[in-house]
Amino acid sequence: MKEVMEEAVLLFLLLVIYTPDAQGTRYSPPGKPELTRCRSPEKETFTCWWKPGSDGGLPTTHALYYRKENSDTIYECSDYHTAGENSCFFNKNDTSIWVNYNITVVASNALGSTFSDPVDIDVVYIVKPNPPEKVTVTVMELKEWPFLRVSWEPPHKADTRSGWITLIYELRVKLEGDDEWEMHLAGQQKLFNIFSLRSGGTYHVQVRCKPDHGFWSEWSSTSHIEIPDYLHREKSMWILIAVFSAFIFLILTWSLHMSSHSLKHCILPPVPGPKIKGFDKQLLKNGKSEDLLRVLVVSDFPPTTPSNYEDMLVEYLEVYVPQEQEVLLEESKDLHDSCLKFEGSTSDNDSGRVSCDSHTLLMDKCGEAKEEGRQTDQEDSTTEAEAQGQQKDWDQDTLMYANGDILSPEKSSGRVKTWPSVFSPLPQYTLSLPDQTSSLEMAKQHCYSDSLFCPGSTSSYLTHLGNNDNETLGPGSWEICLSNRQPYSHIPQMQTCQQVRSHSDVNISTIARKQEPAGLPLPFFRPTAYVEVQRFDEEDMVVLQSIVSDHGFHEGFPQMLQQEDYSKVKGVDSNNMLLLQTEAMKEDGDGCRCQDQVTNGVTESSCTLSISTTPHKPTAHIHTVVSTQDEMAQPASGYVDTATIFTLPTY
């Protein structure tokens, strides 16, 4: 019993002594090591590394054992130090290629040893060379465009000369501060040129290599190279930018030009043109004046039955040629591009009715034809003084306007076209002779229309306003006054159309004065002749035809009304005067005797041609071309025809 007790105490003591403390380390055999990798730099030697496991608290040693495939002999690694900690270096004598190695690492300590998992390797498959050596980077210049030349050598251990190892190379470049490298594969060559450079920067270059069936080496140490600044590079970029901007600018200009039409339309809306019943604008564009006039010639003219009054609206055309030789009339095709403002006219777009009040006929240069102008009931009250008072205003900015026609001084086409008088349903046109004795004042139309439409009667007169202060109708001045009136009305229509300032371009001599209608105490009565534009002939002649009043209103001119007369613009003389002649079909020629031709010194009588456009069709334009011929037609011939087109001086 006692012995058992002693043994128990001894055992207890032993346990106490040998049992480790609760806070002490526990010893155990080492943990399992692990072969991490084996590498051969040149296919002649190789190295294996392992990672040891836990050491179990005791000093642990590691050993590497290997076996070759065709023998069972186990060898131990002979060199644990060359390659560093936990490594085994196989020298040339120990290295065989095309032979499988079975390698195991053993960790041992006092308590035991642990074997790692075996690894089978073949040296030829684990080749990873050293990085390339002697990497040199130089900046080469080729016609001001520098490039980098990188050269290197294979690692000194790799035997490439005998063909034992075949290496391919790769390099990478980046600017200092960049994050991404630019890779370049160089193949088997040992020289490489890099062209994509930016001047003024520092580049980093690295090279690495790889055997034909192996692993990539590490990157070589970085080579730094600085590229000197090259100004011309930047300059070329600026040139590129300049060219690009110019191109953009051209595109913008072109697009602006292309849309200029719509822009202009938006900013300067067009003035609607006259509407002439039966008039085909397209016909006019085609240029066949004969057909055009034929259209105008309506069978029922003169109307036997009273037609709509609205049809008999004739507008006054006031022509103003500014100092700078603005064109009088515009081509019909510019109808909608008019820059004229028809102020105060009561004419709508269609009818072209204009108030007789001249001051309402002011034109702005760029305006719209106001459909509802100022109502002109003032024609009765207009006086000469008013006319004169407004003269200055007109001088400054009046423009020639046709009812609905486009008159744009800037658009002078070199032609002066007078609008033909209204035709078919408009029976009567008054031609007023300018009072040559009167000074060239701004004509103010006094319209004493007998018709009820006078306030709104369409009387269009064409006044050529010039800035000249010529007393007479100097060159370029002409006045055409048209007014229509009711054929039924017995109120004599008086119309005074004063001669406006002359313009150097066109002169329209007055038409032969007619007898004053009796009982017309108007101081500025002008004889009137009624013509109608019958047609255009191919010579751009406007053939005027006098109109016979049904009611015999033109008593004073019976002969004139007997037959159809042609009044044609004879031509324009050297003074740029439009000479018109009436057809001397009548004996006395009284109907259209032209007196007092208001020209510079020319005493020939010729009828002023009054031409106006009808308000009916805004699109209809008939314009006569006044020629500037020097010769004057014989008064007796009675024909005033527009001979040829003359070109106005540039406006």
């Binding site: 002649e44 495939e69 290295t95 290629i97 095309w98 030829v124 035997d159 005998s162 034909d212 069936h213």
Partner: protein, 221 residues
């Protein structure tokens, strides 16, 4: 003429490892005889491609092999070409003559012509998700082997009788019918590992030969 025909065969993929030589240009320059360097260069390219194909195929098979198969894979010493005495290190390899090198290469290549047929058959019957890929690669392998064999044949005629000696290496076909799927797979992988090594040998020999023949063109090495 035969050389020219071999060289102008369908161009291989340009292996990034090797430069593509303008062989046709040489042919134009030297009408009748094609330089050995060019032939060797071409042959090296083909052998390089062959080895790359075998490596990828072997890795493909390994990825699908069950773990147990790895353990019981036969050792490479049991390859049927192990009987051929080949150098085991650099020194031994460089000591060999050019004719010897070529002879060894040709022998190895010849030894694999029949086994490749078996491999192809076996790969087609694989119960394998990647069967098509493996089959295609095996097919490609066969084509390259044949092409290389022809080229080396032409080359050997230029290098004397020793080069034309081919060692016969018998190949013993296994009993395929009795093998189960795992066994056939293991066998296939074993064959591929053997072929991978042998193709590496061939490639190495030819590259050493190429460097030796191109003493005037150091850029080849």
């Amino acid at each position: 003429a035969a050389e020219a025909r071999w060289l102008t065969k369908e161009p291989l993929e340009v292996n990034y490892l090797l430069q593509v030589r303008s062989v046709l240009l040489y042919m134009v320059v030297s009408s009748s005889a094609v330089p050995v360097t060019d032939l060797l260069d071409r042959a090296s390219q083909r052998s390089d491609k062959l080895h790359a194909l075998s490596t990828s195929l072997s890795q493909e098979l390994n990825s699908h092999l069950p773990l147990i198969g790895r353990v019981i894979t036969p050792r490479p010493s049991m390859c049927h070409t192990a009987a051929l005495q080949t150098p085991t290190d650099k020194t031994q390899t460089l000591q060999l003559s050019e004719a010897n090198l070529l002879s060894l290469a040709r022998s190895l290549l010849q030894a694999w012509m029949d086994p490749l047929v078996d491999i192809s058959t076996s790969a087609n019957s694989l119960p394998h998700p990647a069967r098509n890929i493996i089959s295609n690669q095996v097919q490609e392998l066969q084509e390259h082997s044949k092409s290389l064999e022809d080229g080396l044949d032409i080359l050997s005629r230029k290098m004397g009788p020793v080069a034309q000696t081919i060692s016969f290496l018998p190949y013993l076909r296994g009993n395929d019918i009795s093998q189960d799927r795992i066994s056939s797979l293991i066998n296939l992988q074993f064959l591929m590992s053997c072929f991978r090594r042998d193709s590496h040998k061939i490639d190495s020999f030819l590259k050493v030969l190429r460097c030796r023949a191109a003493k005037l063109q150091p850029q080849m090495c």
